[in-house]
Structures are given as C-alpha cells and as structure tokens.
C-alpha cells in the first residue's frame, strides 16, 4: 500500500497554498504582517424597494472627501438601470433611472474610503435660516424653550448644547415633551436653532464599526457659528464634535434617498475595515476577476463580513487536531471546543469563561434532578436545552440589571451544543466519577481557550482573511497530522511505568 498519492496530494495542497499566498503578496502587495498600515473602510449601501411598474428614479446622497476620510473608489451594481452622478453645492448624488420596472428591486453602491490623518475641517458656507411657522400652542412652547436655553448660553455652540439638553430624557420639561409629540427630534432642534438665529441643518452620518451589517444612518445636527466654522451635535445626547468613526454621508441638509415610482424603499449599509499598506491602499485596485485573484474580496461586503469568521474555523480545527493527536488531550465532543471558542470571540474571554462555567455548572445540577424523573433520552436532552436557554436569559437579565452589559453577550453560546455537553458530562459523572468530568471538561475548556487565542490573534485574522491560500496550507497540515503514528505527549507519561523496571 503506497503512501505516494497521499504525500503528492499533501505536497500539491501545500504548494498551491503557498503559491496563491505569495502571488497575492507580490501581485496585490498585501503584506504578510499588519504593520505600517492604513485602514481602508469598505462601505456598501443596499437600496431595497418595490417598483410599481412605472418609470423609476432613485436618488441617493453619496459621501465625499471629508475630515478623516478620503474617498478612493466607488462602484455600483444596478442591472438595467441608467446611472449618473450629479454634483451641486449641497453635495454629490447618484441617480438611477429605468423606464419600466416591477417587483422587488435591489441597487448597490459601494465605496472604499481611506482613513487619513487629516484632521482639518472643511469650511462650509452656512445655510440660510429657514423660518418655521408654529401653530398654537406650539409657538409659545418653542419660544419658551428658546428663551430658557438662550439665557443659559453665550454663543451658538453653547446655545445648541443647552437646547439639546433640554430635550434629553432626564431634563425634558413640559414644553419639550409637547413639542416632541408633534415633531421629529432633529427636525425640531434645527427649527428651534434657526428661529433663534443660529444657522443649522440636519445631516446624516454612518458610524463605522468593523463587520457590521444592515446598519442605518444616524441623524446629526450641524451648527454654524460665523466664519464658515461649524461643529456637529448628537441630537440625543447633546455631545459636541464629530466622533472619529463617523462618516458623514449626507451633509447638504437634503434627504438621503428619494425614490420615485417605487414604494417600501429603504437603504441599509454594511461595512468592513481592512488594513493595507499605504501604497496599495492609495492605488485603486479594480477587481480583475482572474482565476488567481479568486478571493472572497470579490463578494458583496455583507458576505465578506460573514466570511471573516468562517475562515477562522479551520484554525480552530487545526488547534483541536494538534491537541488531540500530538498532545493527547481528552475533550468532551470533538469540535465542541471550536464552537465555544467562536462564542468567546463574541463575548471576550473572561465573560465567556465565567458564562460557560455558570451555564454548565447550573445545567449539571438541573440535569442531575432530571435523571431522577426517568425520562427518555431525547426528551431529557430537550429539557436540558430549554434549561440552558432559561439559564442564559436569567443571567442576561440579571447582569443587565446589575449594570454589566458584558453579561448580555452570553447569548452567543451555542445552546444545543451546550445542552449535549451537559448531558455527556452528567453521564460521565455517573459512570466514571467527578474526576473524569474534570479531566474532560478541563480539556475541552483548555482547548477552547487555546483555539480562541489562536483565532483572535490579530495577525492570524489578517492572514486567514487576506490569503485564501492559507486554507489549503492548513488542510495539508491537518492531513499530515492525520498520518502521524508517533507517541502522543501524554502517552510519554502514561507508559512511563513500563520503562521503570
């Protein structure tokens, strides 16, 4: 029985994997490490609407160069639609049009934005003041609110801050509540500012967070104070200034999206940050889809964000294979530790460890009672699943009440896997005693922690996400490990007595 084909396959996988990675490194200048890099955000807007069968026109505001962000490239996908980019003093807009469309429609716009060190703010001309005609009794309420804030402020910015504070939850007066019943918060604030003679407008921004999907824009209030200088206010908290991760999407005071000939329209955003060397980031890389450039980076952003996690699973599997075959650690359930490690990534390690121990410990106690009820296996495991869900909900509520938001992440644990773990450990306890439970439970937990450390390592995340060839290398390593006939590390201890006489 020749092992030649096996080694050929392993060698081939290894060679192709290394080749693909090197090619990507050389051709696309993706660095091996993360050092000296510029962050590039990829933001994708998806417009969903239902066309009514008539001519359709869709108008979407677009981001432009701004403080902290430089627009590198943009792409659209809109089969059958005509597309033009318009620029006027209120900003850039994309306009899609089609003569006839019916049913559910999806339009895509994606942009790559380079994070820059440029902290200078662009001077903008103040918008003209817009008069609002208030109806009774809102006019008196508005006048009183303005008067109150005016008295406690010195300039446009402090006035804006005081005004927003008067509308915040704790300090909401009677007048504020009355006005809020009739008007939208940010529109109302802009109206009040304008009435007091302070130029202001409502703008929309996107808070950039890595790997987020289905996000929406948040409203912000841009307040001007002479000399074309301005600042942003958060309409809910009254916080002043622009957060570093806020990308202004629409800053002309116009609607973000207008759809004619369609209904149920909405726009959602997905985003992903990627580290690239300065040179490669600035150079625009249009995706030329050759076979060698086969990469998940050609997928829509939403799926890419998903893949970031999926591509880490082989790393976890490699850790498990190594620990079981080379070290000889016993775990409860072969790949359960990988799933627990995935949950740890969401919960962070300390919360995850505490959560896992709490769930399993309480689960074991309850499972112990269930064994007295003499139930059939499937029913018993189902009961344990419900117990696990109950434990998770109780812990979430309790930790939230106590003010520990970290406790909420406990919901990321795979509940069915946990239920089986509890069931197996309980049986182990009955048959082999608590010692074996500790050995296997500890082994699983140690494996999960090691897998977590590997999967959460920034360099490993960088490598797995940017070099798909690495997956082939991992595959070949796992195949090689599967061929290992030597001793396991722990066997050196187990068989020690034989060598002693």
């Amino acid at each position: 029985m020749s092992r030649l084909p096996f080694y050929l396959i392993v060698g081939l996988l290894m060679a192709v994997g290394i080749g693909m990675s090197v090619h990507r490194h050389v051709q696309f200048e993706v660095p091996w490490t993360q050092g000296e890099q510029r962050t590039v955000w990829e933001v994708e807007a998806i417009i969903d609407f239902t066309a009514l069968g008539d001519p359709v026109r869709v108008d979407l505001a677009l981001p432009q160069h701004q403080r902290g962000y430089r627009l590198l490239t943009e792409n659209t996908a809109s089969p059958g639609y005509g597309l033009s980019f318009l620029q006027d003093e209120s900003g850039r807009r994309a306009q899609w049009s089609i003569r006839e469309a019916a049913g559910s429609q999806q339009l895509y716009y994606s942009a790559r934005l380079l994070v820059t060190e440029d902290r200078r703010q662009r001077a903008l001309p103040a918008p003209p003041l817009r008069e609002i005609t208030w109806e009774r009794p809102y006019d008196t309420a508005a006048a009183q609110v303005i008067e109150r804030a005016w008295a406690r402020s010195a300039d446009p910015y402090t006035f804006a801050r005081e005004l927003i504070h008067d509308f915040s939850e704790e300090r909401q007066g009677e007048n504020a509540r009355l006005l809020l019943t009739q008007f939208d918060r940010s529109t109302l604030l802009v109206g009040l500012l304008n009435q007091a003679g302070v130029p202001a407008r409502e703008v929309s921004g996107l808070l950039l967070e890595d790997g987020r999907r289905r996000q929406t824009l948040t409203p912000w209030i841009q307040v001007f104070a002479g000399d074309d200088s301005w600042t942003l206010f958060n309409p809910t908290t009254g916080e002043q200034g622009q957060p570093d991760n806020l990308l202004l999407w629409e800053s002309g005071g116009r609607a973000v999206m207008e759809v004619q000939g369609g209904s149920n329209s909405r726009v959602t955003f997905s985003m992903l940050s990627r580290n690239q060397p300065a040179a490669a980031a600035v150079r625009s890389q249009l995706a030329d889809d050759t076979l060698l450039n086969f990469s998940i980076h050609s997928l829509p952003l939403e799926e890419q964000a998903l893949f970031q996690t999926i591509l880490l699973i082989p790393i976890g599997a490699l850790v498990v294979v190594f620990l079981r075959i080379i070290v000889g650690i016993k775990t409860s359930g072969t790949f359960m530790p990988v799933l627990i490690a995935l949950a740890f990534i969401q919960t962070t390690l300390p919360t995850g460890l505490i959560g896992f121990l709490l769930i399993v410990a309480v689960g074991l106690v309850i499972r112990n009672y269930l064994s007295y009820l003499n139930l059939l296996l499937v029913a018993r495991v189902s009961a344990v699943i419900i117990t696990v869900i109950a434990i998770i909900s109780i812990f979430s509520v309790l930790s939230y009440r106590v003010g520990l938001n970290a406790g909420l992440t406990i919901t990321f644990f795979p509940m069915i896997i946990l239920a089986w773990t509890i069931e197996r450990m309980s049986i182990l306890w009955e048959e082999e005693g608590p010692k074996e439970v500790l050995i296997q439970g500890g082994g699983s937990l140690a494996t999960a922690v090691l897998a977590y450390l590997a999967m959460n390592n920034p360099w490993i995340r960088h490598i797995t996400f940017n070099f798909l060839g690495v997956q082939l290398i991992i595959m070949s390593l796992i195949l090689l490990l599967g061929n290992y006939t030597g001793y396991r590390l722990l066997e050196l201890r187990r068989f020690k007595p034989v060598t002693e006489d």
Binding site: N374, L377, T485, Y487, R494, F495, V498, T499, D501
Partner: protein, 333 residues
C-alpha cells in the same frame, strides 16, 4: 514523570496514533464493525461458528417490552443486563440473585423493579450506545466462574483479554475487579491487570493504576500462582474469532465458566493499549513478527506458533529467566 520516546520505542510500546492508523485502520474493515459493536449480532454469529457464549435469557427491544422484564428473569438465579451496542463496559448491570421483589447486586446493593426498568429504558434510548443510537437490551445468564479464580477477584467476574492479530493470539491479560473499580473490570477505573504468558497461561506481571502489584489489593491473594485452566482451548476459541469476524486486529474478552469452560464474552474492534502495561512489554515486536507470517493457517497452527514464539517467564516467579538467545548462536569458526 515523563518517558523519552526512545525508551518507549526500544520496548516496542505502541501509542494510540499508531494503533489507529497502522493496525485498526489497515486490518479492520469498517464494514465489519457492526458485527462486534452489536453484542447481540456477535452472539448469534458465535453460535453459528460453534464458539460458546453465555446463555441468552432474552432481549428487550421496545419501551413497552420493559414491563415484561420481571417475567423474563423470574426463575433465574442471577442475570446480567447489557446494552447490545455498549462500549467500555458501560451500562452493564449485574444482578447476583433475586430476593423477593428486590434484585441484589454483587456489592449487596438492593435494586427495586423500577430501578431495573429505568436502566433498561435508558439502554433502549441509546444512553450507553455509540453515537447515542437506539439500542437493544440483552439479558444473559450469570456466569458461574471457576471457584479457584474467585480468590483473585473482588465481586465482579474476572475476564481475560486476548489480542488477536491476523488470527494469532499476540498478548493476553486477565482483568481482576477490585473495590476501587466498583466490581468493574476496567483498568483505568482501578481493576488489576495481570499479564499472561501466551505459552502457559500463567501470570507474568500485575499492575493496578499502572503501578506493579504482587497481590490482589482486596483479597490479598498473591498473583504469581495464577494459572488459567484450559488455556490452550481458550486461545483457540479466541483465535477462531478472526475467521468469524474477519477483523485483523481484535480484542477478545473471554471468561471461564465452571461448567461450560472458556466462553466468548464480547469482541472489541478497538482494543485498548493497557495490555502493554500489564505485560510490561510492548506489542510492536510481536505484531511485526505476525505481519511476516503467511495467510491461510489453521487455528491450531496459529496458536501453536504464538505459544512457541511468545513464551515468557514471569517476573512474579522471582526466579531468573534462563538466558534465551533470540537467534541460535553460530558455531564459532
């Protein structure tokens, strides 16, 4: 604390990885596993091949059949309930005698009818089976084990594990249950393992928790005098399981009944490595030798070959083994 790999290699110790790939993976066809993983199938097969097994009282296959259990065992002195697809001795319940409504375990613990039924119900729903698949409960007659062996064991029945490689018995050990192992014959639970000489069926070495032992921890009986009666017959029975199953690397668990002689208890397609500890010797050299032997020999020939080549003098005897050169010395020129 730790042995060097070279030390283990020199003694021919086989690790898990090597056992899995080199022997189980190569000589055990996965297709044949159900024959040994299902004890009921093994039993029926053994009957066809004329290999004695403990008498079957009955089987329980459905949850409503559980209610018939009491009627089934009535009139028997003692019995054993086993999951057909259990592994590692899991789920085996031994009842030594029936006492009115109660069922007495060898340890003296008294079980009620409902305890028994719960146990059988658990077996049926797959609690003890590989992969949790639904299972069948077997009820077997209690083994009347040989009187003179009873001094060597505490509560449970001592069984004899023989590793059969390509039909040759390569290594054997007896497993004696202890108080620490709760009457179970599993070495990692604290049973005493006694390595047996393939040639004579006498004790070679005893271990408990991987440490050498000279006597049984509970009965205090020294192990050196252990001699398995009817040894050759037992080996031939065990070696015959190769023809019966077609599995090249096989663990056979045998027991000796007072009246019926050696019997096959169960088969294992993934036998453990603790037998090396009990014998104080690795399997490697023996397996290598067997691999060089041609196929197609009869059972008796194979057993004779193994007895000739694997004969050993026990360290328990306390006598220096006569120097036995592996190769006959060449006449000096």
């Amino acid at each position: 604390m730790w042995a060097r790999p070279s030390q283990l290699l020199r003694r021919g110790i086989i690790g898990m990885n090597r056992r899995n790939i080199r022997y189980i993976g190569r000589y055990n066809d996965r297709r044949l596993y159900p024959l040994v993983d299902d004890k009921l199938q093994t039993k029926l097969l053994a009957e066809r091949y004329g290999i004695t097994t403990p008498a079957l009282i009955g089987t329980v296959t459905t949850q409503f059949g559980v209610k018939q259990l009491q009627k089934m065992v009535a009139g028997h002195e003692g019995f054993v309930i086993k999951p057909a697809k259990g592994s590692g001795g899991k789920g085996i319940l031994v009842i030594e005698r029936i006492d009115g409504d109660g069922y007495i375990k060898p340890s003296g613990v008294r079980l009620e009818k409902k305890d028994l039924e719960r146990h059988v119900s658990n077996i049926l729903s797959g609690l003890y089976s590989l992969g949790g698949t639904p299972d069948v409960a077997m009820v077997e007659a209690l083994i009347n084990f040989d009187e003179h062996l009873s001094e060597y064991t505490y509560e449970g029945v001592p069984d004899i594990r023989v590793i059969i490689f390509r039909g040759y018995p390569v290594m054997a050990m007896m497993r004696l249950s202890t108080a620490a192992s709760d009457g179970k014959a599993n070495l990692h639970q604290g049973a005493v393992g006694v390595g047996l000489d393939i040639d004579s069926g006498t004790a070679v070495r005893g271990v408990q928790f991987d440490r050498p032992r000279l006597e049984h921890p509970d009965t205090g009986h020294e192990l050196a005098s252990l001699l398995i009666p009817d040894w050759r017959n037992l080996l031939e029975l065990a070696a015959g399981c190769y023809e019966m199953t077609g599995l090249g690397y096989l663990g056979t668990d045998m027991v000796i009944d007072r009246n019926r002689g050696p019997m096959l208890l169960e088969l294992n397609a993934r036998p453990g490595l603790a037998i090396q500890m009990a014998n104080g010797e690795g399997l490697r050299s023996r397996l290598d030798l067997i691999e060089k032997q041609p196929e197609g020999l009869g059972v008796a020939e194979r057993v004779a070959f193994a007895q000739r080549h694997f004969a050993r003098c026990g360290e328990l005897r306390n006598i220096a083994p006569p120097p036995q050169p592996l190769v006959a010395p060449l006449p000096s020129a």
